[in-house]
C-alpha cells in the first residue's frame, strides 16, 4: 500500500463508536526500514495523536483498525515527515524529493520509495533527519 493511500483514512476501534480521527501521516524508523507509528487527528483543529504500529490490527481497505483498548498518546514533535522530503545520497548529491512510499501492510516494512528522480529500493535507507532522507549509493 502507498503512504498517500493511507493518508485520510479513518482510524477505527473494534468496540464500535465513531472513528478516533483521520490518518495524517506515518512515522518511519529509518534504521529498521519500517513504519513505527500512525499519526492521526480528530477533526480539523484537533491535536495530532499517534499510536504505535503494534496496536494496529489492519490497514485498509477503507480504514485503519486498531486492536481494542488502545490509548492514543499526544504525538511528539520530533516526527520527520517522509513525503516531500529531500533525498541525499551518502556521497553528498541530491536525488530529488520523496513522492510516495510503498509498504507492506502486514509487516510494516517499507518496500520502495518513489522520488522525483526515480524509484529507490527501501534497503538503501540510511537515515531520516530534519534536513534530508539519506540513502546509500546504488
Amino acid at each position: 500500500m502507498l503512504f498517500t493511500e493511507v493518508r485520510g483514512l479513518p482510524v477505527l476501534v473494534p468496540d464500535g463508536g465513531g472513528p478516533l480521527g483521520t490518518v495524517t501521516s506515518l512515522t518511519v524508523d529509518a534504521l529498521s526500514g519500517s513504519v513505527s507509528h500512525v499519526r492521526f487527528r480528530a477533526g480539523r483543529f484537533g491535536r495530532e495523536k499517534e499510536v504505535s504500529w503494534d496496536t494496529v490490527e489492519t490497514v485498509g481497505p477503507g480504514a485503519v483498525r486498531l486492536r481494542s483498548a488502545t490509548a492514543p498518546e499526544p504525538a511528539p514533535s520530533s516526527h520527520h515527515e517522509l513525503l516531500g522530503r529531500r533525498v541525499l545520497v551518502d556521497t553528498g548529491t541530491e536525488h530529488g524529493t520523496v513522492l510516495d512510499v510503498a509498504f507492506d501492510t502486514r509487516t510494516a516494512r517499507l518496500l520502495a520509495l518513489f522520488t522525483t528522480r526515480g524509484e529507490l529500493p527501501a534497503g538503501r535507507l540510511l537515515g531520516l533527519g530534519d534536513y534530508a532522507l539519506v540513502v546509500r549509493e546504488g
Binding site: G92, T93, G129, A132, V134
Partner: protein, 194 residues
C-alpha cells in the same frame, strides 16, 4: 575521477549527518601548509542570524564531500575549531590572493580560488588564477581567468606558490575543461597524493 569543485562554492554548503540532520554550514575550507589536501572546514550555524561556530569539522570526520552537501558520520566528529586552524591555514587567510610563479620565475598570476576534488580524498587539484598579462596575452580590459593544475611538486614560500615549469604547459579555461585536463593526464594524477 570524482567531481571537481571550487573551494569558494563550498561556503554555505550544508553539513549533514548520515542520519539526515543538518548540523551546520561550511564557512571556509582549511588546507595543509603545502596546499596539497583539505584538512577540514570551519563552520557557521544554520540559523539566519547565527554566527561562526566554535566547532570545526576535521577531514577525518567527513564521510564524503558531495555536490549538494558535506556528509559526516555523526555530530561527535566535530572538534574545537581553534585547535584545527592553529597550524593550518584557512584558504581565505593565506591562499587567496597569493602569487603563482614557476620555478624559472615566470609570473602566472594571482590565486582567485582553489579547485578541490570531491568524494573522500580531499585533494587540492589546482587553482583558478587571474592570469598575468605576460602569461596569457590579451586586451587589458578583458583579463583572463585560467585553471592551473597543482602539479606534484608545489612549494609555498610566504605568499607565493611556486609551480614546476611543466605544470603550466596546459591550462584550462573553465571547470569542465579543467576536469578533462586533470583527468586525462596520465601518470601522477591517476593515484592520490602520498
Amino acid at each position: 575521477m570524482n567531481e571537481l569543485m571550487a573551494a569558494r562554492s563550498l561556503t554555505t554548503r550544508p553539513v549533514v549527518t548520515l542520519g539526515g540532520d543538518a548540523v551546520a554550514h561550511v564557512k571556509d575550507t582549511v588546507c595543509d601548509a603545502a596546499a596539497g589536501r583539505i584538512t577540514g572546514f570551519t563552520l557557521t550555524g544554520r540559523g539566519l542570524l547565527s554566527g561562526p561556530l566554535k566547532e570545526g569539522l576535521p577531514w577525518q570526520a567527513v564521510h564524503a564531500l558531495g555536490h549538494d552537501a558535506v556528509m559526516i558520520r555523526d555530530r561527535r566528529g566535530l572538534v574545537n575549531a581553534a585547535a584545527m586552524t592553529a597550524h593550518r591555514q584557512s584558504l581565505r587567510a593565506r591562499l587567496l590572493g597569493a602569487r603563482v610563479l614557476t620555478e624559472a620565475g615566470t609570473e602566472i598570476g594571482t590565486v582567485l580560488d582553489v579547485v578541490v576534488e570531491g568524494g573522500t580524498g580531499g585533494r587540492v587539484v589546482g587553482f583558478r588564477v587571474a592570469a598575468s598579462r605576460r602569461f596569457v596575452p590579451g586586451p587589458t580590459r578583458h583579463r583572463r581567468r585560467v585553471y592551473v593544475p597543482r602539479g606534484e611538486s608545489l612549494t609555498v614560500t610566504g605568499r607565493a606558490l611556486v609551480l614546476p615549469e611543466d605544470a603550466v604547459r596546459h591550462v584550462a579555461d573553465d571547470l569542465p575543461g579543467f576536469t578533462a585536463l586533470v583527468g586525462g593526464v596520465p601518470g601522477p594524477w591517476k593515484g592520490s597524493l602520498p
